[in-house]
């Protein structure tokens, strides 16, 4: 079992580049110089302006401050300390309740990204999310916020939940204080709460209806990126509802429930342009989890197709995100998806389904490993193990810890189960690779002869043939049988007739997308006024 999996908040899963000096050690020393009530002038200016922009619904300015100023100030002044406490800045923003909730959300996110949150802080962050979502769900919010911010909220919510599950599953080295905290705040980040908030956001926002009505042309949603330019009604609940569907997909994947995860994503049609593409983080998150779920459901071709599309997209557009705080996350997910693609293609080889550029990258990174995986010997399983471990989501054990008995670390249990079942599936497909290489050589061959070549008896040969057919035909959510293999066959009494399927290039799909894209560009250009 690969031992590089130890989930640690401070390690590779952090979403921002960690400056070399910061880390757990910075905590003690920094605390001495950190005064939560001291508000530097730049922070004062920042909150005053942000507050004003939010009140004036100036989404563009909000976005600039959120993405730009916040990061710059964090880099300059808050590398090792948290931002000033919300109590300290509240007077500058009329003690506005909602603004304070938003500020605190950013405050905690900063702590998670650059420092290491304490147990107390984790619990307080949960409380903050409960209040924030509570306000939104009551429908009393009238502001418009940039999609990036709304996506980050949902993304961070799920991330902190995942982080907390890992945190409380590592009981061995906890201090008595920390254990007491766990006992006292046993409702913090409970899985029912998390799921129910996401579900509530989806329902209260009626986002499913909105998407349905949009298909009939009764609603403008995608066209305005979810904003309401004319009416000025709030986009917050709508977008949080939309992004919560992705949040639900993610949580279900973390639990190992791939079927329900995909179901939660149902209303979003990923074969079409959509709001999910506006924020690159949400686009990547959807496809990564969608692809992973399909991989676990043995729908290999579907997974390969989606990974191919997103990897091509990232290849083309990542240069535009180099300055963004999400850049590291984008790169990380990029690498993970190449690993998943390598796994899919080893289990279900395809020809001509991958874009040329993506293929070059893939071969660059994983050619040797893919060759190894196809051999199905001991080394192959080690490679499958390694790639799966690297690329899989951080599975969680959702149940609350039992704090009375002997304290052990069980944060890896969920991951170990998924890995074990995955490798089990790989093992079941062991003989299929050999069969495939033989089928490539013949157009027709008798079962007896093939059995001799593969050094098995005839009865086993028939078994292998049936197993190939079963494993290479997946069942989609409607119960339809989908063929996945590029090499297929049928048997007439004793003779195997090999059928090679033609690769399908979806020209129609491609043209459709291009037509719509150019139309969009043209109308944008039309809108430009030259004065």
């Amino acid at each position: 079992m690969a031992n590089s999996y130890d989930y640690d908040d401070a390690s590779f899963d952090s979403r921002y580049a960690r400056p070399p000096s910061s880390g757990q050690g910075g905590g003690a020393a920094a605390e001495l110089s950190y005064d939560p009530n001291f508000v530097p002038d730049s922070v004062k200016t920042f909150v005053v302006h942000l507050y004003r922009h939010i009140r004036e619904k100036n989404v563009y300015e909000i976005h600039q401050m959120y993405e730009g100023s916040f990061q710059r100030l964090s880099d300059r002044m808050f590398r090792e300390n948290p931002w000033p406490s919300v109590e300290a800045i509240a007077p500058y923003v009329d003690n506005d309740h909602v603004f304070c909730l938003l500020y605190r959300e950013m405050w905690f996110r900063h702590v998670y990204a650059r420092l290491a949150p304490t147990g107390q802080q984790r619990v307080e962050s949960w409380d903050n999310y409960c209040s924030l979502f509570g306000v939104v769900l009551h429908g009393v919010v009238s502001m418009q916020l940039p999609n990036q911010w709304l996506w980050d909220m949902v993304d961070e919510f799920v991330y902190q939940f995942q982080s907390y599950c890992q945190y409380r599953a590592k009981l061995k080295n906890k201090t008595e204080e920390e254990l007491q905290l766990l006992r006292q705040y046993d409702q913090a980040w409970n899985v029912y709460g998390v799921l129910n908030y996401l579900q509530a956001l989806v329902e209260k926002s009626a986002i499913v209806d909105i998407l349905e009505r949009e298909k009939d042309g009764l609603e403008q949603f995608t066209a305005t990126d979810g904003y309401d330019y004319e009416g000025g009604t709030s986009n917050v609940l709508k977008m949080l509802g939309y992004y919560s569907m992705i949040g639900l997909l993610r949580v279900h994947c973390l639990l190992g429930d791939y079927h329900t995860g995909l179901k939660c994503l149902g209303p979003i049609d990923i074969s079409q342009q959509g709001v999910y593409m506006i924020v690159i983080g949400s686009h990547i998150s959807i496809i990564y989890h969608y692809g992973f779920a399909n991989l676990m459901l043995r729908r290999y071709v579907e997974a390969i197709r989606e990974f191919n599309k997103i990897l091509l997209y990232i290849l083309k557009y990542k240069q535009y995100h180099q300055k963004s705080p999400q850049y590291d996350q984008i790169l990380k997910k990029n690498e993970q998806m190449y690993a998943l693609l390598a796994i899919c293609l080893s289990l279900c080889p395809q020809s001509n389904i991958i874009e040329e550029n993506v293929n070059i990258q893939l071969r660059d990174k994983y050619n040797e490993k893919m060759t190894k995986m196809l051999r199905y010997d001991d080394e192959a399983y080690a490679v499958y193990d390694e790639l799966f471990t690297y690329a899989c989501p951080k599975f969680i054990t959702p149940s609350a810890p039992v704090l009375e008995e002997s304290l052990i670390n069980y944060n890896q249990d969920a991951y170990r189960l998924q890995l074990k079942l995955f490798l089990y599936e790989v093992k079941q497909q062991q003989s299929l690779s050999g069969l495939r290489s033989f089928l490539k050589l013949y157009s027709a061959i008798s079962i007896g002869k093939l059995a001799a070549y593969m050094e098995v008896d005839e009865s086993t040969m028939r078994t292998i043939l049936l197993a190939y057919k079963h494993k290479m035909h997946s069942v989609d959510s409607d119960g339809k049988i989908i063929p996945n293999a590029d090499i297929d066959f049928y048997i007439s009494e004793d003779i195997i007739h090999v059928v090679e399927s033609k690769p399908t290039k979806h020209y129609g799909d491609y043209f459709l997308r291009q037509v719509l894209k150019f139309e969009e560009m043209i109308s944008e250009l039309d809108r430009v006024k030259l004065d």
Binding site: V191, Y192, L195, N196, A200, L255, G256, D257, H259, T260, K263, S271, Q272, M296, L297, R298, T397, P398, S399, D413, L417, Q418, L421, E425, Q428, S459, R462, T463, I464, L465, L466, A467, K469, H470, K471, H473, S474, V475, I481, D488, F489, Y490, I491, S492, E493, D494, H497, V499, S501, K502, T504, K505, H506, Y507, G508, D509, L512, V515, L516, E519
Partner: protein, 227 residues
Amino acid sequence: MGREPQQVSYTVEQLVSVNPYNPDILTELENYVNEQVSSQTYSLDANLCLLRLYQFDPTRLSIAIVVRILIKALMAMPAPDFSLCLFLIPEPVQADEQIKTLIVLSHYLETARFRQFWDEAAKNHSLLEVVPGFEQAIQAYAIHVLSLSYQKVPRPVLAETINIEGLSLDKFIEYHVANSGWVLEKGTGRSQLIVLPRNEFNHPGLKKNSSDGMPFEHITRIFPVLS
């Protein structure tokens, strides 16, 4: 965050789609499993919902119910429901003897080792007989796999795959000749061949060329552009 008891009683399916993350519905879901067993119906969503609730609160997990869910999932093959359920069952629970047996049975079915499957199933008759319709469901799966693979299947192969022989097999074949489009033929050396109905998987000519088919609603998106 459960809801207040409603005046109108929800069906289980409604509960699962409307309020699934609620520990109060656990008992109802367990009853629903038993109902599925006795009335020979099946609901993957409801069963996954229950397994999730067990995951959230392992103290309420009932091995007997889990066993029933797994047997039902086996019967749903070729759908991957059995694996989907296993993903949600913690490893210590999977070490239970009954569940280990079911995993072995699933393994045989997944790798098309039908002879070994029927042998093992016979040895565990008491475990499987609690769920009516088990044998028929597996036989349906077996025929499905054969239909994917064979245009013409020799009688002995069919017999081994569905675990029926002799006169019962004759009657079985007769039934499918009358109702499912099977045809009997003479194979080489006086053996009997069963010709299975043509489909896109065992007759490459019938393979639907779905390469460039697109749903009409996608085309409607460019109507504004074209006009």
